[in-house]
Amino acid sequence: MQKMVFYFENTKSRTGEVNEKATVHVTLDQDFHVTKFDVELDSIPGENLDGYEITPTFDAMNFDNNKTFYTDSNGLAMQKRVLNYRNYYDFDQAWSDSHHSGHNQNITGNYYPVNSAMTLKDGERQFTVLNDRTQGGSSLQNGRIEFMQHRRVPADDNKGVAEYLNERDTDGNGIRVPASYYVQLGTLNNGSIQRRVQSKIDDNLQYMFTQSIESVHYEKTENDDFDYSSALVQAGVSDTVKMITIPMAKGKFMMRLHNIADLFDKDAETKTVNKTSVIEAMWKAGNINN
C-alpha cells in the first residue's frame, strides 16, 4: 500500500495546528487487475466566498481519446459524450455566459452524471476509472478523467436555489467526504473487467462474525454439507449474472436475473441460467434445519 497526503494551502484544521488535508491510499485489488485509490478528504475550508470544488483527476500519459469519453448510465450501458458538443443543440449558444464574456461554461456543460464508471479509448487502449457512488464527472483534457468528489460554496451562486452549498456536521465544520476509485488501463483485446469490478463494488462480500458457535444448540442434518453458493454458480448465477430476489407476498417472490455484461465491451457474452436449479437450491438452503 502507498499513502500520499496532500495539504490544502493557507488553511488550518479545527484544532488550528495542522493544515486540512486529503489522504490518498493506493492499493492493488486482490481480485482484479485494477488499482484502488481511497481518497479521504478533510473538511473543505469555508472562508473563501467563491467556494471550492475538489476533483480527483486521473491522467493517462500520451493518451489521445479525441475529445470523446463514455459515462455509465444507471449501471446498464455506457453513453458516448463529446467535449463541447451536443448533437441536439448548439452547445456554445446554450451554455453561453453573459456574465463572463468569452466563457461558455465549458466545464459545467461538460459534466455528466457518472453512476459507476467513466472510460476513454485511444485505438486499442482503454482507460477506465470506476467510482463507488454516483458523482459528476468529465474528461476536459485528453487522457484525463475527473470526478467531483466534494464542493463547498458558502455563498449564494445566484443560480436560483437561493441556498448556500454548505453542508456541515454537528460541530459546524464542513462535512468530510471519503470516496474510492478503481483504475484500469489496458487494451480492448484483453477484455473489460469494468462490469465485474462494478459488481464487486456494489455487492461486496459481507463478513459476519459470531463469538461461539458451540454454545448454539445445533443438530446436524443431512443438508449440512449443502453449499448454496456453489449450487447457484452451477445453475449459472456467476460472473456477470446478477440475481436479486424480492419477497412479494407469503409464498411468492420476484426473481430478477440480469446479465450486467455491456455491449460496449468486446467480450460481452450471452449467459444461460437454469432457473429451476436456482429455485431448487434456494429451497434446499431455506430448509437446512427443517
Binding site: K252, M254, R256, L257, I260, D265, A268, T270, T272, I279
Partner: protein, 43 residues
C-alpha cells in the same frame, strides 16, 4: 389503452439478440448482454 402505452427503446436495441420471451417450456433462461429477465416464483 394500448395506444397510450409508454414504449421506448435503447439506442443499441438492434444489437441485442432477439429471443422468444416465452420460457414456459424449458428451465434454461438466456441472458444476452445487458438483458434483464424478471420472474414471479410462487410456492
Amino acid at each position: 389503452m394500448n395506444a397510450r402505452r409508454l414504449t421506448w427503446k435503447t439506442q443499441d436495441d438492434d444489437t441485442l439478440v432477439k429471443k422468444d420471451l416465452d420460457f414456459s417450456e424449458g428451465d434454461i433462461v438466456t441472458l444476452e448482454a445487458q438483458r434483464i429477465r424478471v420472474f414471479v416464483v410462487e410456492f
